[in-house]
Amino acid sequence: MNYSRRKFFVTSSTAAAAFVLAGCRGINPERLGGQADGFANVDQSGVVAQGPIGKNLPSSPILDEVRGRGFLRCSGTDTLPGFSQTNPVTGKLAGFDAGMAELFAKYLLGKPAVNFVKSGADTREAFLQNRTVDATISTYTITENRERIVNFAGPYLTVTSGVAVQLGETGIASSADLAGREVAVQPGAAEEALLREVPNAVPVRFEESSQCFAALQQQRVEAWVANTAIITSRAGTDSRTTVTDIRFGESPFGIGLPKGDDTYKTVATEFINTIAEDGTWQKLWDETAGLVDRTTNPEPPAIPMGR
């Protein structure tokens, strides 16, 4: 290596290193999502440890298979703060839905053994239909079309949607004002709730709630619709955005189960009723999504048998 070339390398690598360092200093931890938003301390393990174990559970094809295997295969998401999100420190899934999955496994097996399979809104039905998983707990809204091909136990939680806007926005006072506007949503429950309420809104779909939030901050969209827990956690604590008083829609979330095993569905329904009655459900809410969303405070479910 001759002198000038070595000099070129030294100079350019110094410049590159400086550039990288400058970049690191400029990173805002909130942008990385998850940590600075009030959901950092979500941990449902204490509630799960006290969760009930089902007694005299019947026999059915799926229940027998799960018992034989020794763990529950459950699909869900890992990007929904307060419901099911990977805790970057522990690497464990934390949130209300993650806790429901562990409690369900404990109810069936005596231990919270869950094998988590990631699935988006696209693959939930397919995973249940081809028996990749035994259950789907993933803010999974119960709808007529879906009930034709999968079983639902529940609803175990019914949430309402909220709207976040940029600070100083005055044109959005009711849900009808969202018509014709670009609204950030995550595919799935939030998107459905928005289009049911305001069919003329223009949904802009981002995979993660942190991306929806960033799009709102960067003024790429005029509003962001998600359930009140998520909205409050992010937009309520930021200086550029604010949560409006608009509330709409009711999304009943159910535990998705494969079609054809009604005994299994009955057991799942009994499970929901059991944790609602003994207070586990309320504790789980308080330790997860309820940590941030103090306003919603949903009622524990009571599902009539045979639903």
Binding site: N145, A184, V204, R205, F206, R220
Partner: protein, 214 residues
């Protein structure tokens, strides 16, 4: 079935958006890639370095990362591109690297003896390039370039992850309502197949045309 009829306009619109993203992206890739290929064979040191940096830098990043940078990174430095434009630029940048390598190998693949013979027979440099080098090189470039085009169309599905409702995004919307994943994604696959069979057909046709011209 009712759901499907109701969803059809949305799905067709999605197909249109896929074309709207991938055709300009491929044109951008052609211009950029050809330019960089010429840089890389130019024997001018600085241009060669520029071409190599571009290819190695962009080709070795996942496309999703490039799209996320353009959509969520650039606004932090004050550049807010419309979502569709960001996707077209990202796709074009990415596919451009593959165009560059296809064009470069096409140029390098021309037999040196053929060029020397053309020179020896008294053709000017301009004529050597336009009458001998390019026709031969172009013909060998067409199949790899068609592959790059097809990959561009398929890669445009990643736009669904950054808020653009193209064919894959429209399919997801339909599936959310109808809860028919196999039907839904079967339709999307058919849409991509249709576009890409057309590209394959056009590629075979232009290859034949160039052979005829010899």
């Amino acid at each position: 079935m009712d759901d499907l009829l109701k969803a059809l306009p949305g799905l067709l619109e999605g197909l249109g958006v896929t074309l709207y993203l991938s055709i300009p992206a491929f044109l951008l890739a052609m211009v950029l890639g050809s330019m960089m290929a010429i840089f890389r064979v130019s024997r001018v040191r600085s241009l060669e370095v520029l071409g190599t940096l571009y290819v190695e830098g962009v080709r070795n990043s996942p496309l999703l990362l490039i799209l996320l940078l353009l959509v969520f990174g650039l606004p932090d430095v004050g550049i807010l591109l419309p979502l569709e434009l960001a996707v077209i630029i990202g796709l074009g940048l990415y596919s451009g690297t593959f165009v560059c390598e296809a064009v470069r190998s096409g140029i390098n693949g021309v037999d040196v003896g053929m060029v020397e013979a053309a020179r020896a027979s008294g053709l000017t440099t301009r004529h050597v390039i336009s009458e001998v080098l390019l026709p031969v090189a172009l013909r060998t470039m067409i199949p790899p370039l068609a592959t790059v085009f097809i990959t561009t169309v398929l890669s445009s599905a990643l736009a669904a992850a950054v808020g653009v409702t193209e064919l894959t995004g429209a399919t997801r919307v339909y599936n959310l309502v109808a809860a028919q994943p196999f039907v839904a994604f079967g339709i999307a696959a058919a849409g991509y197949l249709l576009i890409n069979l057309l590209i394959g057909w056009a590629s075979a046709k232009s290859e034949r045309l160039l052979r005829f011209n010899q």
